[in-house]
Amino acid sequence: MTDSIPSPILANVRIMRALIAKDWRLFRLPIIGLLVAGVGCLLYTGAFFYFYNFGPNRREHWDNSAILVSVIQNAAHSAGFLTALLASTFGGVAIAGERAERTADFTALLPVTRRQVIMSKFVSAGSVLMVFTLFYALIFIFTFNFSEHLFIRNYPVAIWEWQIGCVISFFGVAWLVSAFTTSAAISACVSIATTMGALAWMSVYMETDRANRYVDVGHRDGNLAMVAFTVGLPCLVAGTIYYLRRTAP
């Protein structure tokens, strides 16, 4: 008869699969946003390259391959930043969006624990954001040997750090605000304002600080990544602890 008793691990896997599938559907709009942002940046790249090579004002003497690499990297960089920016909507929709729609009540009354709910949201949002960020970072790595930034050895790593830092910061702040409010839009706006403010502050500091003025691009991106991590991680942890401890869903 013990065969008929479901294993707690299997039951947990079954529940997590259902919750993650539900959360992927919940994040459909931000995912569409990510796709549009990525495609938009690539189209921009293509158009840029086309006009330089085949447009009426094309310049024959230009090194087309260097330009191509440069525009692809710019597109990947822009798309990576837009991915980070859209991470704020993931953070907002995750808790506040569900609360505004009252679907949080529905989930809260199902036999799932808060930890499972949180874990499912992290896995579903994190996996999507990670795939997009990784894709753009890989573009950097593959094109690095052909780029004009070849002399900056840590450039791809710094860019990746910067993108991951921004994703964590935009997502983390939105997640924290989302744990207190019922508006995904407010959560996303606060997150964007906070993260952009912190990045702007660090940029201005690096520009005005004599010691940092002549550091390379890779170093600067690394510094910006550190600021983003410093803002995002505590917010992510605080939001999670608060959500786990509060009674209301």
Partner: protein
């Protein structure tokens, strides 16, 4: 040895003990104490803003009480809410199911969460009786159909306690009747399987429905419990005494147990609790009356008079 997080089996399915909830300075639920025996249906009624939804949200663990204690199916809420979730079903005042899901998807989602506890046969039979289109997305369902789907999802795991928070508010007559028939069906479905009857807490403004369904009724007013009694006892013991006065405006002396009194010209009506012939004799003896008759009341009239009596009562002077 049982851990402290395991629910206790109890003859009392729902218990409120000195439950209070404050939002800022506003005391929304004030020292609520009553219990509902297992296997009975309790109608929970009150005016808008009386604190019914807040009480129910505290009961199901969606809201923390400011003070006091709530027990639901042997579990202390919200501390043991994870244990209670498999024992209770909740139908909210408006559907909370994901709007993009179809009925079938919502059922499949709940089934994958509840696992082997999910009762496919019960769900299929109730869905058929409710004539529910399970292929439509929730956002395309009418209010009545969405509420029926909520009921279906709430009973799919065959809960011991079913809590309904104004599920039929805003329904047309037909939709309300269909929903109530579904509720009756759900309640009787388990009896054939030798399962003990479900405990139901049913909050509603439709007092005719409450009178039809409930074994007992609890009236809440301004966060306070005005009464909690079996419906039959309440209706048999609450009467309206209508007296025609001899003179147009003399002082009237109301009998003990008066809930509410009103005067219109020569006609004086007094609603009394714990009705007895002594109260009629009291009215005859202490007042100059030409004629007295005693009327039975519906639950609707009892509720109105109790609430009016509370509204007429002088506010307590703060110490």
């Amino acid at each position: 040895m049982s851990s402290s997080n395991e629910p206790k089996s109890a003859a009392t399915a729902i218990e409120f003990s000195h439950l209070s909830r404050r939002f800022g300075k506003s005391l929304v639920v004030d020292d609520l104490t009553f219990s509902i025996p297992a296997g009975t249906t309790c109608g929970f009624i009150g005016l808008n803003g009386a604190g019914k939804t807040t009480t129910i949200r505290m009961l199901v663990g969606l809201l923390a009480p400011s003070s006091g204690r709530t027990m639901l199916a042997g579990c202390e809420m919200p501390r043991q809410r994870d244990a209670a979730k498999r024992l209770i079903g909740y139908v909210p005042d408006r559907p909370t199911v994901y709007k993009w899901m179809t009925g079938s998807q919502a059922i499949a989602f709940c089934k994958s969460i509840y696992g082997s506890q999910w009762n496919d046969a019960l769900v299929a039979s109730v869905a058929k009786s409710l004539r529910l289109d399970l292929d439509k997305q929730v956002k395309h369902l009418s209010k009545g159909s969405a509420a029926k789907l909520s009921l279906l999802l709430a009973i799919g795991h065959d809960p011991r306690v079913l809590i309904l928070d104004e599920p039929t508010s805003g329904f047309d007559v037909l939709a309300r009747d269909e929903f109530l028939e579904g509720l009756l069906l759900v309640n009787t479905a388990g009896e054939a399987q030798d399962r003990p009857p479900r405990t139901v807490l049913f909050s509603s403004h439709a007092l005719g429905d409450v009178q039809r369904l409930a074994d007992s009724v609890a009236i809440l007013h301004k966060g306070k419990l005005v009464l909690h009694e079996p419906v039959e006892q309440l209706l048999s013991q609450t009467k309206r005494i209508r007296a025609v006065m001899n003179e147009s405006a003399p002082q009237t002396v109301a009998p003990p147990g008066t809930v509410h009194e009103s005067r219109l010209g020569k006609e004086w009506t007094v609603t009394v609790r714990s009705f007895s012939a002594d109260q009629v004799d009291f009215i005859r003896g202490k007042n100059s009356v030409a004629q007295v008759d005693v009327q039975d009341l519906t639950l609707d009239e009892v509720f109105r008079d109790y609430v009016r009596g509370e509204l007429d009562a002088p506010e307590p002077v703060p110490v």
